[in-house]
């Protein structure tokens, strides 16, 4: 437990110290929120709920910011490898499992902080929180997304030689995961051929879970969302731990 805490502490310290990274990763979600939110609010109404598009969009953008931050946090292990720091942890009398869990929880923590910042900023453009319990539910789903995708990033980083593959992963894996999820549009209005893809996307359950927490309604049962996401987090954590065990400094 001490070791996991030590590695977690380092991740969080590094994150809090790099102001440019905090602001940099806030940029894209914030612009999505502002441009899409204000741009489409007047012409789009969400069937069934009667709420405006901006209110619908916020949970999706929160999930987006958690997703991007956590994948990046996982892939950062490559930096540790290139700058030699990974050797320092690998040669210590600690298990790979502890290192991996510490990194995962550290990445998930930073991702949740990013998500909460987006959430707080959206209060200024008209979001209202239904209840404190709802906020906590949303936070739990953010944490699950964070854990899943940091572990996912570590799994990918364990198989990568350097940062060159990073853009590839971002454009062809992470962006489709975001785009196919119900972050930008309601699942019920999808064409029938696209719906199965969306339902196979783990992020969909994260977005719906956050949406349930923030607005009290969702198109997928929140319990199902939680179940699917917990299973996905466990699977990626296992895959990450397995691949990281084989990573050489």
């Amino acid at each position: 437990m001490d070791i996991i805490y030590t590695i977690w502490l380092r991740s969080v310290k590094r994150y809090l110290r790099s102001k440019s990274r905090i602001i940099g990763t806030l940029g894209m979600p914030l612009f999505f929120l502002l441009f899409l939110g204000f741009g489409l609010n007047s012409i789009v109404s969400i069937p069934g709920t009667g709420e405006g598009y901006t209110a619908f969009l916020v949970p999706g953008i929160v999930a987006m910011s958690v997703l991007f931050t956590s994948v990046f946090a996982g892939i950062q292990i490559i930096w540790d490898k290139q700058f030699g720091f990974l050797k320092e942890t690998l040669v210590a009398p600690v298990s790979r499992m502890e290192i991996m869990l510490g990194q995962t929880l550290g990445g998930a923590t930073t991702a949740c902080i990013q998500g909460v910042i987006i959430l707080v900023l959206s209060l200024f453009i008209g979001l209202t929180l239904s209840s404190a319990a709802g906020f906590l539910i949303a936070l739990c789903f953010m944490a699950l997304i964070g854990i899943s995708f940091t572990a996912f990033g570590i799994a990918i980083a364990s198989r990568m030689e350097d940062m060159h593959g990073f853009q590839l992963v971002m454009n062809f894996v992470v962006f489709p995961i975001f785009g196919l999820s119900g972050a930008l549009f309601p699942i019920s209005s999808l064409p029938s051929w696209l719906a199965p893809l969306t339902m196979a996307d783990p992020l969909t359950y994260g977005v719906e879970g956050i949406r349930y927490g923030l607005s009290g309604t969702s198109q997928i049962d929140p319990l199902l969302c939680g179940g699917v996401l917990i299973a996905f987090a466990a699977a990626t954590a296992l895959a990450g731990a397995f691949l990281f065990r084989k990573m050489s400094a």
Partner: protein, 327 residues
């Protein structure tokens, strides 16, 4: 007691043998050097001993723990300063030390005490709350050594400890390494391609070339093996010089890069004879020098090559090869 025991340790990358059946034994409290050109396999050997790399075959024990099976025991027994930097530049000197102390589960009052003590020892206590990215190369090295000592290792690995440092910092580090060994009794194994470094610091030196140990002894004994003093004659016609001096009988002359080198005892007594022989035969010579042998001569003696022959090309090719082989 034996601190390090290595038997037929081998590492292969495909058909390329990086470390070839090396064996040695290091008693507790010794400073042991692995001397060889870049790409000779020194770092690969150290990586295997530090459990970062699995050997292809062979065995090694460190402080009584096997590197195959007793990894945790080995890791607890060793401190290591890598050839390439392994600090977190975004953390302060103190935080790097603290991270290390926590990883090795040093409980807190003791941890703070040791960190303060070691930072003072490497004269970084004044900068302990500055980010490492603001540090010079020498300061980083010193911090890494302090960090490697934090958990009181029985054995300290130093992989090219003074690579890229200025002469003054290097001298300072040497004194420091000697003090550590003398006062704390730590067994030290270091790799280097600097002859002076091995000569100055090591109780015993293993000369390693193409992954193989070609000689292993105390630096003094190795130099004696060369056969006395070294006379170097520069000449436009080295072949004629060589044949002129070897005609005398017991002399052995090696031609190398426009010079002729002769190894013999009490060179000062024979120098007149050599000069007479050269002028008697009408062989031109530009200069003649006499000196005591260095480890450079020892390397030449055992491998037939100068360590400086190793070109960057060959080194880079080797590294490329290792990198692709690791994938």
């Amino acid at each position: 007691m034996t601190a390090i025991y290595v038997e037929n340790l081998t590492k292969m990358y495909g058909s390329f043998t990086a470390v070839d059946r090396i064996s040695f034994e290091i008693p507790e409290g010794e400073i042991f050097g692995l001397l060889g050109p870049n790409g000779a396999g020194k770092t690969t050997a150290i990586s295997m001993l530090a459990t970062l790399l699995k050997p292809t075959s062979g065995a090694a024990m460190i402080n009584g723990h096997s590197i195959a099976g007793g990894e945790d025991g080995v890791r607890r027994s060793i401190g290591i300063v890598f050839q390439d930097q392994s600090l977190d530049e975004e953390l302060t000197a103190f935080e790097n030390m603290d991270f290390h102390g926590r990883l090795y589960r040093i409980p807190n009052p003791l941890r703070q005490e040791k960190i303060a003590e070691l930072l003072a020892l490497v004269e970084l206590d004044g900068r302990q709350h500055d980010l490492v990215k603001t540090f010079s190369g020498g300061m980083r090295r010193r911090l890494e050594i302090a960090r490697g000592l934090l958990h009181r290792p029985k054995v300290l690995f130093l992989d090219e400890p003074t690579l890229g440092l200025d002469p003054q910092t290097r001298n300072h580090l040497w004194e420091y390494i000697e003090r550590l060994n003398r006062e704390a009794g730590i067994t030290i194994i270091l790799t280097t391609h600097y002859m002076e470094e091995a000569d100055r610091l090591c109780d015993r030196v293993a000369i390693i070339d193409h992954g193989r140990i070609v000689a292993l002894d105390a630096p003094g004994a190795l130099k004696e093996a060369v056969g006395g003093d070294v006379i170097t004659i520069t000449s436009p016609d080295p072949a004629a010089v060589a044949s002129a001096v070897t005609a005398a009988g017991a002399l052995r002359a090696e031609q190398y890069d426009g010079t002729v080198r002769i190894n013999l005892q009490h060179a000062e007594r024979h120098i007149m004879e050599i000069v007479a022989r050269l002028s008697g035969n009408g062989v031109p010579a530009d200069s003649i020098s006499i000196r005591k042998p260095t480890l450079e001569d020892v390397f030449l003696h055992f491998t037939g090559r100068s360590m400086r022959d190793e070109t960057a090309d060959e080194r880079d090719r080797m590294r490329m090869y290792q990198r692709t082989a690791r994938r």
